[in-house]
Point group: C2
Chain length 161, copies 2
């Protein structure tokens, strides 16, 4: 299992503090994805999609913690019941809006990813596949309206406030 | 960027041929996820969620191809506009139904993953985060009603029919 960086995310966010924690909180945030030229042939046909999944490596996430206090809560939770980046494999997953494709550059919005994050994969977002039934959302059910931006709690070398 | 296997997917599918290509085509398929005991503390609170994302390593995917003919089409497409497993980083992503949690074992259904696949991550599926607007779905728009199970075309060492 050997990962390769296929590109770089360029966004307005140099650090976790103040970064939206999900695309739904990133309305109006624009950025671009630089796909390294050797992978550009794989982008053929992508421009036809309104939204794409980005998989990326959370390279500035603090060391994995199996119990975390997530942004949306004040109680400690198991990390797999959260979207916190400090996980055994710090792979982030964001469905961002694809505005346009210019060669190997993808212009996107609703972007909630830190600047200079290494990109691992791009997949098309397909409502028929991705809008699935799920009624119960555990501890998040009550917390969904809470905090919408990050602080430094999961950033390496940053003390939580 | 160093991956670690956090568990193993146990499913009825020993090979790609006949495996549903998305959870939406895997109604009634049951299996279980074995999370290695050292990661089990991270499962706290997960049982409250109806559905979970699995990220996994497609360990039997054929070598990366940047242009593929996807299961749902007869035309070659850029791999990033498809969900095909033969990609630069063969990370699969499936939102399966969580039936119940027994210690470090997650009983799931709507499972579309090969047996013995290495697990990389588990995240809660949250409709507020994951049901996002996307009207245009490119080449898939016309193809969505096609094939719902895999053949061997993306399996290492298997000749496509």
């Amino acid at each position: 299992m050997k990962l390769q960086t296929i590109g770089i995310v360029h966004s307005p966010f140099a650090k976790a503090e103040g970064t939206p924690i999900q695309p739904m909180y990133a309305a109006g945030v624009e950025g671009h994805i630089e796909v390294f030229p050797e992978y550009a042939p794989g982008l053929k046909g992508l421009a036809g999609f309104d939204r794409i999944w980005l998989l990326f490596w959370c390279d500035r996430a603090a060391t994995c913690q199996l119990i975390v206090t997530p942004y949306k809560d004040t109680e400690p939770r198991g990390v797999f019941s959260t979207r916190a980046p400090s996980r055994p494999n710090p792979i982030g997953m964001s469905a961002v809006r694809l505005q346009r494709v210019e060669g190997n550059i993808l212009h996107v919005s609703e972007l909630d990813v830190l600047d200079n994050t290494p990109l691992l994969d791009i997949k098309p977002y397909v409502p028929a596949f991705d809008h699935l039934a799920a009624e119960r959302t555990g501890w998040l059910g009550a917390a969904i309206s809470q905090r919408s931006v990050a602080d430094g709690r999961f950033e390496a070398g940053v003390k939580a406030p």
